[in-house]
């Protein structure tokens, strides 16, 4: 058995606070949307607004962290072994095969994760946040000032924001399920909690894997 330190302290802080904020935003957001009543519209909207500013703050910190530590390279997309990864989830996983790619400190994401997480960060989250900010600032000023956003209909802003929310929920469900596809069903979640992932000796990072990682970077 070998313990590898995969997730840094900030990374875990970021991951879990972002997770709780997103889940909380979904809970309050769909209440504002009118899907159910938990806090009441007023409280739900207030909570949603406050949580959204916290999430924006957190994301700014995370962007700073990714840039300064160079961790952003983890998300550079690659097609190498992408097909194998997809095939693994569709059939290999049922036959008890090993993951086609190995996790390491230098490459903690498999090719499929790279693409999905990158689109999460570059498309889904920005779409949701930008539409959210437009929603937040809609008709911010009255007749004493200029009206910032008015001619763009609120219905479309709401459409894009809701679309982001729906896709985030789908992402969340699949993401949580995929954590159970690790060595053991809980090993990935444990790793995100402790930062360490345990590898069997035979699973030790192979030289060629390292090479691959270096190439990618």
């Amino acid at each position: 058995m070998q313990k590898v330190y995969i997730y840094k302290g900030f990374e875990r802080l970021w991951h879990w606070s972002q997770a709780s904020l997103i889940i909380f935003l979904a809970l309050t957001g769909f209440e504002v949307h009118g899907a159910y009543t938990i806090f009441g519209f007023e409280k739900a909207a207030e909570f949603h607004r406050t949580a959204s500013w916290l999430l924006i703050g957190l994301i700014i910190l995370a962007i700073f962290w990714h840039i300064t530590t160079g961790e952003w390279r983890q998300y550079i997309p690659t097609t190498r072994k992408l097909k194998e990864q997809v095939i693994y989830y569709m059939s290999g996983i049922f036959k008890g095969e090993h993951h086609p790619t190995e996790k390491s400190e230098l490459s903690k994401l498999n090719p499929l994760q790279r693409i999905v997480y990158l689109s999460f960060k570059l498309l889904l989250v920005p779409m949701t946040i930008i539409s959210g900010i437009l929603y937040l600032l809609y008709k911010t000023f009255d007749q004493n000032n200029l009206i910032v956003i008015e001619d763009y209909p609120l219905a479309s802003i709401a459409f894009w924001h809701t679309m982001g929310a729906i896709l985030l929920i789908i992402f969340l469900i699949v993401h949580v399920y995929m954590t159970t596809t690790g060595k053991t069903p809980t090993s990935n979640i444990k790793a995100m909690i402790t930062g360490y992932e345990e590898f069997d000796e035979e699973d030790e990072v192979k030289p060629e894997q390292n090479e691959l990682n270096n190439k990618i970077q």
């Binding site: 709780s20 699949v174 909690i193």
Partner: protein, 541 residues
């Protein structure tokens, strides 16, 4: 091993702390200070009641024993030498005001020519209607609007509560009023002065407006937070200021243009709330919309008036019927009514300009709109306002296709007034003749509707309309207003079902995948076990 569990626990608690503190931060940051300095400053300002600089009871000019009200006016003008000019340029005196109306240009409109949904119109009925004219002797449309002696100063400035205009006396005071006492009491107008006309429009207390009730003269904060005796106890003129007798404020039952209005913002500014989101609502939602959750809080108001039912007689005599609350349900002279109390307002878009059904206009749509409040969501200056919608029916000329002005009031039987003779034909003929309009002789009844913006009976903030009363999927207060996206009320139905099915499909996919994983693992375990058992149980050779 113990060490691992220790680390594990430490890390777990770290994650839990992160999650809880994130949610805790949300709770801290969303909370707001409840002390609104702007409001406290206003309260402070209006808590100080001005002491009048002149005590009129000490003035020599007012010590006389006045015989006629005109003598009182002359006494007033002996000191306030030019004030009659101010009064005589007001719509309180002229019963009309020039204003720009879209489609008509600059037109004069007011009680002289605007028809309403209650006692219909003033023409031919001046003697009765003039009870609410600030002058003496308006018996017909030939009243002399240039005679300053006929200005009624007392109806507004009486502070003795003794002054009373006589019924059907063309604006003259009741004969029992001691004019000397009234003259010596004068001061700044009080709620009871304004209310003596504005609360009694339409022939009784709170009939017309619904938000102007004689009960406001002495009410609690719950009825009106500004006028409440246990609150700021403001007079009408605190907001409806009257520099040079030009009184701020108007109502679109007779007024047309967006000027000289009394607004909440003149005191409260356009950013009265601590919450930015609430302030932002102000760009499209009027203050009244949220702060007047209901009107007619004390006494009922008329919601419907059907003139077509008028004229029924019992044993040849007019009669009246009352509903369970003691309001007139039926009157032979007026028709049938529906009254309501504690009414939730209706809501419309309004940009501050209005048009009216003027005497002589053709009927363009049914129900006939007695007043049209302009505005829509797409008009940048429009806001949502609360209104009382008063419906009913009125008599009209079938041939000329216009509302008829009947002569209702008459001195005695036989002078063709409806309230005396109950004959529509004669009443309309007489009324139209006096109005200078032709009458074909064929009348019918047509449905009518009138919109009354609700501006008074502001509730304390704790009772204002809550967010979810509009931001709700079903039965919200704004359910009838369409053409715009209201969060919480509206949603994209296609998107909603897309989201719903995506959620179901994703869950199915995830559970399906998991099931196959578990089943295949069980199958594989069995297979491996079989091999092992085969090795162990190899038969001896």
């Amino acid at each position: 091993m113990c060490d691992t569990i220790h680390t594990m626990l430490r890390n777990l608690s770290f994650v839990i702390v992160v999650i809880i503190s994130s949610l805790f931060m949300v709770n801290i940051f969303h909370h707001q200070d409840s002390f609104n300095l702007k409001l406290e400053e206003l309260k402070h300002k209006y808590a100080l009641k001005a002491v009048p600089s002149v005590n009129h009871s000490k003035l020599p000019a007012l010590q006389e024993n006045f015989k006629t009200p005109q003598e009182v006016t002359e006494a007033c003008l002996s000191c306030h030498t030019e004030t009659h000019k101010e009064v005589m340029s007001s719509s309180h005196w002229n019963w009309e005001r020039a204003s720009y109306i879209e489609g008509r240009g600059v037109a004069s409109s007011g009680k002289k020519n605007v028809m309403n949904n209650f006692c219909l119109g003033t023409n031919s009925n001046q003697k009765s209607c003039a009870k609410c004219h600030i002058g003496y002797g308006m018996t017909s449309s030939h009243f002399d609007f240039n005679n300053a002696r006929n200005v009624d100063c007392m109806v507004c400035h009486d502070n003795s509560d003794e002054y009373l205009k006589g019924a059907s006396m063309a604006g003259y005071p009741d004969r029992n009023v001691n004019l000397g006492n009234v003259a010596r009491s004068v001061g700044s107008p009080r709620k009871s002065n304004c209310g003596s006309c504005h609360s009694f429009g339409g022939g009784g207390n709170n009939v017309k407006h619904g938000d102007l009730d004689v009960a406001l003269n002495s009410c609690s904060r719950e009825v009106d937070v500004h006028m409440g005796a246990n609150g700021m106890n403001l007079e009408c003129v605190a907001c409806h200021t009257a520099k040079n007798h030009n009184i701020l404020g108007k109502l679109y039952s007779v007024s047309s243009d967006n000027s000289n209005r009394a607004t909440c913002e003149q005191c409260h500014t356009s950013t009265p709330h601590l919450s930015d989101v609430l302030n932002r609502h102000g760009s499209r939602v009027s203050c009244q919309t949220c702060h007047i959750p209901k009107y007619a809080k004390v006494n009922s108001t008329k919601m419907s008036w059907k003139w077509s039912d008028a004229g029924k007689l019992k044993d040849g005599k007019p009669y009246e019927e009352e509903d369970s609350m003691g309001n007139h349900k039926y009157m032979s002279i007026k028709g049938s009514f529906i009254w309501k109390r504690n009414v939730k307002p209706d809501y419309i878009w309004f940009n501050g300009t209005a048009d009216h059904y003027l005497l002589g206009d053709s009927i363009k749509s049914i129900p006939v709109q007695m007043n049209i409040l302009n505005g829509s969501y797409h008009d940048r200056l429009s806001k949502i306002i609360p209104v009382k919608i008063h419906v009913g029916d009125q008599i009209y000329d079938k041939v000329y296709n216009r509302l008829a002005q009947p002569k209702l009031y008459g001195e005695a039987a036989g002078d063709s007034a409806f309230w005396q003779d109950f004959k529509w034909d004669e009443a309309v003929a007489a009324g139209m003749k006096e109005s200078g309009l032709a009458y074909s002789g064929q009348y019918g009844f047509v449905e009518t509707v009138m919109y009354w913006p609700v501006n008074h009976m502001v509730s304390p903030k704790e009772q204002s309309v809550g967010c979810a009363e509009c931001h709700t999927r079903t039965n919200g207060r704004l359910a009838k207003l369409s053409g715009f996206y209201l969060p919480g009320r509206d949603s994209n139905k296609t998107q909603d079902s897309f989201g719903y099915w995506m959620l179901i499909l994703t869950l199915l996919a995830v559970f399906g995948h998991a099931t196959i994983r578990v089943l295949s693992k069980i199958y594989r375990n069995k297979y491996e076990k079989q091999i092992i058992s085969y090795d162990e149980d190899k038969p001896e050779e």
